[in-house]
């Protein structure tokens, strides 16, 4: 399988026992883990190992996880999955807003974590060439690019997936639960805040006026749909 070849995972966690255990589990599932325990060294390790996915603990010595997340996101769209001990609203939302694609709350089951990692890596499989239009945007699915008037817009893979999911069925209103399943790969409903935060992030990149969205339109009480093209 293609996805198994791209199995480099950078684990950023200061708890050595947990890091080691994560390594055991990840190796058992065929991934190649590498480790860094310090927030300050995380970015250097990221540049060095060029992972396909980052597992990031939010509470770190040195730079905290939020900051690390922001720095990685600033130079790469690589999937980031947060490990958090707090499921409180603020922590999760702050983490997602700083660029994380998904999060897993401690204590998690190994299978759950692996499922999340797989879901984030799955999209790396080569898609068929496909051209989509949403609003005044042109999406090249295979080329993984979004353009407005010839200007390309940089999106993370997750944001790209979200946009493509909406653009493929412009007639359909997507509930948050459906988006969670299609984009994040959750089998059963999870935290809809994931969708809310990422829609906001997507809008801030693709909308001319994020206050008055035209590309990703909110359908009150139901969910989101693609704007008319």
């Amino acid at each position: 399988m293609m996805s198994f070849m791209k199995g480099r995972v950078l684990v950023v966690d200061d708890d050595t026992a947990l890091a080691e255990m994560l390594g055991i589990v990840l190796r058992g599932e065929g991934f190649e883990p590498s480790f860094v325990a310090d927030g300050d060294k995380a970015l250097a390790a990221f540049r060095e190992t060029k992972p396909d996915l980052v597992l990031l603990d939010l509470m770190l010595p040195g730079r905290d996880g939020i900051e690390v997340c922001r720095l990685i996101r600033a130079e790469s769209g690589v999937p980031i999955v947060m490990l958090t001990a707090k499921s409180d609203t603020v922590d999760v939302v702050v983490g997602l807003e700083s660029g994380a694609d998904d999060y897993v709350v401690k204590p998690f089951k190994p299978k759950e974590l692996v499922a999340r990692i797989r879901a984030r890596l799955r999209r790396s499989e080569e898609p068929a060439p496909e051209q989509l239009a949403i609003g005044d945007l042109v999406i090249d699915v295979a080329g993984h690019s979004v353009k407005r008037d010839g200007q390309s817009i940089a999106l993370t893979p997750l944001e790209f997936d979200l946009l493509v999911a909406l653009a493929r069925k412009p007639w359909q209103v997507f509930t948050r639960e459906v988006l969670l399943e299609q984009v994040w790969g959750y089998r059963h409903a999870a935290d809809t805040r994931l969708v809310n935060v990422h829609v906001q992030r997507l809008r801030s990149k693709v909308e001319k006026d994020p206050e008055k969205p035209e590309i990703v339109v909110t359908v009150r009480g139901v969910g989101y749909k693609a704007g008319p093209s």
Binding site: D15, A17, L18, M21, L22, I24, V25, G28, M59, L83, A85, K86, D88, T89, K106, P107, F108, K109, P110, K111, H188, A189, D191, T192, R220, G221
Partner: protein
């Protein structure tokens, strides 16, 4: 002010006409007699009068309110009124004294003047009489001619002594009709007859003593007007020895002028005093009232949460002491609140830290356990079983930890509601779907009713789902394999989900205790069922966070029902629930006793006791005979309270029950409609309040 006391009278009579309608029994007959007969007139007049009074009172209301609320106004007005009274009293006394003083002097002077005059007149008459006596032979006509002349001379000579100070008047004695010469005479243009009062004339008539009276001098020349005067008169004899009346008239205009001057001065002074006193009172009261008002204002701000507010304190007087004490109180309050806030923050911080510190090692343990669990086939049986136990108990430990943290988050007040409009049907279907595997293991069927229409409310989907999952899983676990019915309804400003099971039910008093932390229905079998013992406590907190209710009902052997009621829009207070807490197919509602027999009258005493006692059994008696032809339509006005807290009256109780949308309940519909026994409204209230109030 007077309006207050006056108003009730007509109102009272007016009310009384309406009262007999509501009354029954012998007493009312008297009332009717009174009202119809004796008070009829009053009744007819009262509406007009009341209208008039209301019309008069309306513009006065703001003034009255100001009077009640403004102590400064009250003190100033009272001071004004009282000082006005004092000044008036003082003025009257002073004026009376001044008048008496002025008049006394005048009267004494006048009396001596008049006495002198009378003596002169007598002397003149004697002299004239001697002269006349010598010429006694002369004719009567001549002598009378002399008398006329003599009298005129006398008047002019007497009055010449006091030009302007007094006038002299002579009048004929009463009964003297001799006419001619002894007609009235007067000096200074005085009208003699009009100026001397009749009463005085009568008094001196026939007596030889002088008398006096106050009168007004009237002048013949009407332009001069009249003026007050003291009149002193005496009867004296003329030279012929015939009596006539001699009067001295002393004008009092000077004294009157002085008196009016005094009056004017006093009035001006009095007005000044009153106004000044008012102003002084205003100032003095202001000194006291201003700090009091400031204290009130600052106390309001303090209670509004602005704890840094303080009073300005100047000086060392009582007001300053009040201010200091007030500030000290505010200071201490602020300190205490600060401490509590710090404690709460520390608590929250602690919870958060514990959460992190516990969870990270737990994650490692969990993963390790899972790896071991996966590989258990390679172990010997003892180790394999140990691995299983380890994994199972880790699950339990995890959920216990999660629940504990959730509870402490509620306790710290850190739980936040993320309300948005959600359709409860979706939540219910998710929950039911999630509980299906467990239900299948237990052989239970979960049915959902009332999901034809959307049931939308502003709520936190995550929390509502957690509550409902808890209720459904509990119902399946305690349902002993029988059906579980999840009922949805929406009416008024509320939505409700009720989860009904037909399992062991709840014993009396347990309906409220189920929400207690770590409470278990049966300690003996506590460890066999899963769950942390915190589920319902968390569910109750979740419901409360929504401003909703979570209540339980149950009967031993008859199953139980848990009802979650949420306001349709967040922050709107709940007034009632669309689903009655006690289901229609409860034993009591079906009218069945333990043996399953239709209930007879004699059976009532042995009816299985309802969860919160059977206090209202006697109250329910009269309704029991009423057949329940429940109309399926909801009466929205009757909804609130579902009869719960509304009224002990039978009529509205029944209405409250019928108001509930008649949702098809489990199986026993026909029995239900034939059996009349109803929920005592008070039972439901009791349960509701108990679980809500904690």
């Amino acid at each position: 002010m007077s309006g207050d006391s006056a108003a009730p009278a007509p109102g009272g009579t007016g009310d009384r006409t309406g009262r007999p309608v509501g009354r029954t029994g012998a007493g009312s007959r008297w009332g009717r007699l009174l009202d119809g007969g004796l008070l009829h007139g009053g009744v007819q007049g009262s509406p007009v009068l009341r209208l008039f009074l209301r019309w008069v009172r309306r513009p006065l209301l703001p003034v009255m309110r100001l009077w009640r609320r403004n102590i400064q106004l009250r003190v100033v007005v009272t001071t004004l009124l009282m000082s006005l009274g004092v000044v008036l009293l003082l003025g009257f006394v002073v004026i009376g004294q001044v008048r008496n003083g002025l008049l006394d002097a005048k009267v004494k002077a006048s009396q001596s003047q008049a006495t002198g005059g009378f003596a002169v007149a007598k002397q003149r008459a004697d002299e004239a009489a001697t002269a006349t006596g010598e010429a006694a032979s002369t004719t009567d006509g001549r002598s009378s001619q002399n008398v006329i002349q003599w009298m005129s001379d006398l008047v002019s000579s007497l009055s010449s002594g006091g030009q302007g100070a007094f006038d002299v008047v002579t009048l004929p004695a009463a009964g003297d009709d001799s006419g001619g010469g002894r007609g009235p005479r007067a000096s200074g243009g005085v009208d003699p007859t009009a100026s001397v009062p009749e009463e005085l004339r009568a008094r001196i008539n026939g007596s030889m003593v002088a008398a006096q009276s106050y009168a007004r001098i009237v002048y013949k020349d009407s332009d001069k007007g009249s003026q007050p005067a003291l009149v002193i008169g005496k009867q004296v004899n003329d030279p012929n020895g015939d009596p006539y009346q001699l009067y001295y008239l002393f004008p009092l205009s000077q004294e009157e002028k002085s008196l009016s001057l005094v009056k004017g001065t006093l009035t001006t002074a009095g007005l000044f005093v009153v106004v000044l006193l008012g102003a002084i009172a205003w100032l003095v009261v202001r000194q006291v009232v201003t700090p009091v008002r400031m204290a009130a204002r600052i106390a309001e701000r303090l209670s509004a949460g602005r704890l840094q507010e303080r009073m300005k304190v100047t000086g060392e007087d009582d007001i300053a002491r009040l201010g200091e004490a007030f500030n000290k109180m505010a200071q201490n309050l602020q300190l205490k609140i600060q401490q509590l806030e710090d404690l709460s923050r520390m608590q929250r911080r602690f919870v958060s830290d514990v959460s992190h510190e516990l969870r990270t090692p737990l994650t490692t343990v969990r993963m390790a356990a899972d790896v071991i669990h996966e590989a258990r086939e390679d172990f010997d049986s003892v180790t394999a079983r140990s691995a299983e136990l380890l994994a199972d108990q880790l699950d339990r430990f995890e959920s216990l930890l999660a629940d504990l943290l959730e509870i402490s988050r509620f306790d710290a007040g850190a739980a936040a509601l993320e309300a948005e409009p959600i359709d409860l049907r979706e939540v219910v279907h998710r929950v039911v779907g999630g509980a299906e595997p467990l239900a299948e293991r237990k052989g239970t069927r979960i049915r959902v009713v009332g999901d034809q229409q959307p049931v939308v409310a502003e709520a936190d989907a995550r929390r509502v789902e957690r509550v409902l999952r808890n209720l459904v899983v509990n119902a399946v676990e305690h349902g002993e394999g029988r059906d579980v019915v999840v009922k949805l309804a929406s009416a008024g400003g509320a939505v409700a989900v009720a989860v009904r099971d037909y399992g062991v039910g709840l014993k009396p008093g347990e309906a409220t205790r189920v929400f207690s932390r770590f409470w278990r229905a049966d300690p003996a079998r506590a460890r066999t069922t899963g769950g942390t013992g915190l589920g319902l406590s968390i569910a109750l907190e979740d419901a409360r966070l929504h401003g909703g209710w979570l209540q339980a009902w149950g009967e031993p052997g008859g199953g139980s029902q848990f009802r979650l009621t949420l306001p349709r829009t967040a922050d709107e207070p709940l007034r009632g629930s669309p689903i009655p807490l006690e289901p229609k197919d409860s034993r009591r509602n079906r009218g069945l006793d333990d043996a399953g027999l239709p209930r007879g009258e004699e059976k009532r005493a042995t009816v299985p006791v309802q969860a919160t006692g059977d206090r209202t059994a006697s109250a329910r008696g009269p309704i029991a005979s009423r057949p329940v032809a429940v109309p399926p339509t909801a009466d929205p006005t009757a909804l609130p309270g579902n009869g719960a807290r509304v009224v002990p009256r039978p009529a509205s109780d029944a209405r409250g029950q019928e108001a509930v949308p008649a949702v098809e309940t489990a199986g026993n519909g026909s029995e239900g409609s034939a059996a009349p026994e109803r929920v005592g409204p008070r039972d439901v209230t009791q349960q509701g309040e108990a679980s809500r109030g904690r």
